[in-house]
Amino acid sequence: MPFIPHTEDDIRAMLEAIGADSIEALFDEIPADLRIRHLDGVPETMSEPELARLMLERSEQDGRPLNFIGAGAYEHHIPAAVWEITTRGEFYSAYTPYQAEASQGTLQVIYEYQTMMTRLMAMDASNASLYDGASALAEAVLMAVRANRKSKSRKVLMPVAVHPAYRATTRTIVDNQDIDLIEVPYDPAGGHTPVEALKQYEGEDITALVIAQPNFFGILEDVDDLTDWAHANGALAIAVVNPMAAAMLTPPGRWGEKGVDIACGEGQPLGVPLASGGPYYGYMCCRKEHVRQMPGRIVGRTVDRDGRTGYTLTLQAREQHIRRSKATSNICTNQGLLVTASTIFMSIVGGAGLQRIARTSHANTRALVERFRDNPAVGPVFNRPYFHECVLKVGVPLDTILPALAEDNLLAGYALAQDYPELEDCLLVCATETKTQQDLDRYADAMNRVVGDNAATGRTAKPKMA
């Protein structure tokens, strides 16, 4: 019996102790007509060797394409040490550190993580993680509504240039709480969210403004102006920041005059493998004054009876298991193991290393874009600086060429028209530090080839927009 240690002797002795005739008898409080007879939808048991073989086959059956998709999940090198330590049984198979004295390993890791995130973001406090970047933004919106006591409107300005899945997730989660998510358009030339677009809301009661850096198009926003606009208009500023970008760009705690109120985003770039989308983790940082409105677990440093330093879960009075229907969030389990991985990742890579990775990722994407300088059919759509992603307009139908490139083991980017119909045949392309010059050449050659092949048959190539 897989994973069950009971011998026949054990079963007999245990039933005798209980005073039951059979294991079946232990279920006598369940109405008989409810009981399962067959489980035909579950296949027969597999032995581990059978399973191993199946999984090896499935993991290899689709090849390993060279990937230039980012769009919210980024391919970065992860030191081997990170996951070899993270999956040690003591981290892997422990639970939430309810018994602090027997969980100092996990608790200290989280405290170190919180410290690292506050330093990376230049913020005062960090929680112990949320599910992912998108749901973290939703929680940030809810938090802002709680934290901005002066505002009654529950209106939140949400730029269209924020990741579409983040916006969708936020909609799903805040939908039933009378919150008004107001879309702010992006500038068609720059791809950024112009402060001018906010003008119309001046004087209104706005609860919060969301600011993504970079935004979904990879474009860098005028974060100082946007932050100051929010504060000048009584709104809280919520930053959504790629933490890898924060290593080279002004961190959200220093945007504008006083920095943002809440920073959140996707922790995946910090040591978490792509792995089809999860588990990742959402990080969240805030200013000191908002800490009691922050959702999720928080670890604090304290002392034991002998005055020795120790770590413990704190501010639990915010949480659902204490406050129930009045909790800041219903979150319970978060993404502890990913936080462990990220903490080890940041320790090994270091701040300077992170900065070099960020800068090389930027430079690689720029170098990739440069390779199309002489191809009139391929070129950047927006004219503003970007981090490590860029929107390329391709002069032929993407639905023709992307499958062809994928066949050739090249994932050329994310097609934007599914979310932005106005960006037809536009591709969001990302080249992180993992890409070599040869990889960029391979991309350029393949793209030039398929564009050439398809130019005649496809939609007419449009002139570059920038």
């Binding site: 369940i30 003591e90 120790g310 701040g351």
Partner: protein, 482 residues
């Protein structure tokens, strides 16, 4: 010692980042960071040594018996980790075309199918990232259902007073008022109170069955009838699914929607507090509202189901498809158990719980529900010890650590005073349970003869009892050199 205290300016673990500082002069200086983020500057060995040693300061399933009630701390098979982390799976981008992810998607599709059969539901979406998000999903679908029918006067969710805190918190997040109903002395829901509570304002009820009191709600069919007749739907909180895996389908009990905590019932790792995964299953009437993405298939080709195919979906819950790697581990676990192994989980979880309960009762401990069968867990109350000896459930819990056992859940459910909620799980051997009983007996003796040793416990851990009050009052949430 913190990792930051090993840091020295200029030290680093090279070879993990580019050597050159690439040019970024195309970016306006005002947007660039002026300093280097203040992360630790340590060697790779220092990091490895630090975190290896830290790990040793944890209790975990792999090192200790961990009977934390309601959390199902059972063995996390190593195969699930090894094979979910094959390089081919780790490398796949979530937005890579389905044509390059057929192997992965086959696993997800089959997992959906298995969960459907196990829960007796019509359809399953894997995307919720944890139990609480699954709960949110379920209640949001209930709301979407009523709204789609134009039945929007329903403003209340009924929750028993024994429920997990996530239940009322979730109902609130979905814009519902929470109406609590009491539990009777035998641990079952008070049906009279329920009848009183339901009405045209009732959107639904959230139930855990077995309940958090460690007993099976015997009149579940009647509850379903009452709620359904009032026009409400039934939400099944799957936290305790381990107790009935392969025994009873929540769908057959009358539930309309269920979430499953895969990190409990399907033994994916708890990871020091996540990641979990909280797939939801629904009956036919809720199917249109399931969150996306889901995996569909045509013949043997798999594809993603999105809002396009499910226009009534409540939408997305995360940027991609949820905790894919957790789902992979659950898939592997389910395949290793197979059809034959599923009901054994409930069998032996129940056998272990009842055995441990009987042994503790024989040893003189008071049970919260002495007349009831234990399900996969049960409650000991130390009310008497508190009164007679002035020792608390917390004191017992801390002292258990000294005996090498993780403490059971304490002070939950809230309605049982000085309670220990004990869940041994099916993967523990009888000797382990006997050892735990022995420790409890010794601690009881200590409580009677030398209560100080409990009150001062633990004595063998890296730290002694921590000052939680100070932690909350003098908030220290991040380290600084000064």
């Amino acid at each position: 010692m913190l990792i930051f205290e090993h840091s020295r300016p200029g030290r680093e673990a090279p070879g993990h980042s580019p050597r050159e500082l690439a040019d970024v002069s195309d970016i306006p200086a005002g947007l660039l960071r002026e300093d280097v983020p203040g992360l630790p500057e340590v060697s790779e060995l220092q990091a490895v040594r630090h975190y290896t040693r830290l790990s040793q300061k944890n209790f975990s399933i792999d090192t200790q018996f961990y009977p934390l009630g309601s959390c199902t701390m059972k063995y996390n098979p190593r195969a699930c980790n090894t094979y979910a982390m094959l390089p081919g799976f780790l490398a796949r981008h979530p937005l890579a075309p389905a044509s390059t992810g057929q192997g992965f998607m086959a696993c997800m599709y089959e997992l959906q199918e298995m969960l459907k059969d196990i829960t007796g539901m019509k359809a399953v979406s894997l995307t919720p990232a944890a139990g609480a998000q699954g709960e949110f999903t379920g209640v949001a679908m209930i709301r979407a259902y009523h709204d789609a029918r134009g039945d929007s006067g329903r403003s209340e969710i009924i929750v028993p007073d024994a429920a997990h805190g996530t239940n009322p918190a979730t109902a609130t997040m979905c814009g519902y008022k929470v109406r609590e109903i009491p539990t009777m002395k035998d641990g079952d829901v008070d049906l009279e109170a329920l009848k009183q509570a339901v009405g045209p304002q009732t959107a639904g009820i959230m139930l855990t069955n077995p309940s958090t009191l460690g007993v099976f709600e015997r009149r579940i069919q009647e509850i379903a009838r009452i709620v359904h007749e009032a026009g409400g739907l039934l939400y099944y909180d799957g936290a305790n699914l381990n107790a009935i895996l392969g025994k009873v389908r929540p769908g057959v009990m009358g539930f309309d929607v269920i979430h499953m905590n895969l990190h409990k019932t399907f033994s994916t790792p708890h990871g020091g507090g996540g990641p979990g995964a909280g797939p939801v299953g629904v009956s036919e009437r809720l199917e249109p509202f399931l969150p996306v993405p889901m995996v569909g298939n045509y013949g043997d080709r798999y594809h993603w189901i999105t809002e396009k195919e499910k226009p009534q979906s409540i939408g997305r819950l995360s940027a991609f498809m949820g905790n894919a790697g957790v789902l992979m581990r659950a898939y592997i676990y389910a395949r290793l158990l197979g059809r034959e192994g599923m009901h054994r989980v409930a069998d032996f979880a129940t056998l272990n719980a009842n055995y441990l309960m009987v042994k503790l009762r024989e040893a003189g401990f008071d049970l919260a529900f002495p007349e009831r069968r234990a399900t996969h867990e049960f409650i000991v109350t130390l009310k008497r010890q508190k009164k007679e000896l002035d020792v608390t459930a917390m004191d017992f819990a801390k002292r258990l650590l000294d005996y090498g056992y993780h403490a059971p859940t304490t002070y939950f459910p809230l309605l049982v005073p000085e309670c220990l909620l004990i869940e041994p799980t099916e993967t523990e051997a009888r000797e382990e349970l006997d050892g735990f009983v022995e420790a409890m007996i010794k601690i009881q003796e200590e409580a009677e003869t030398n209560a100080e040793v409990l009150k001062e416990a633990p004595h063998t851990q890296p730290v002694r009892r921590l000052d939680d009050v100070r932690a909350a009052r003098e908030l220290d949430l991040a380290w600084s050199e000064h």
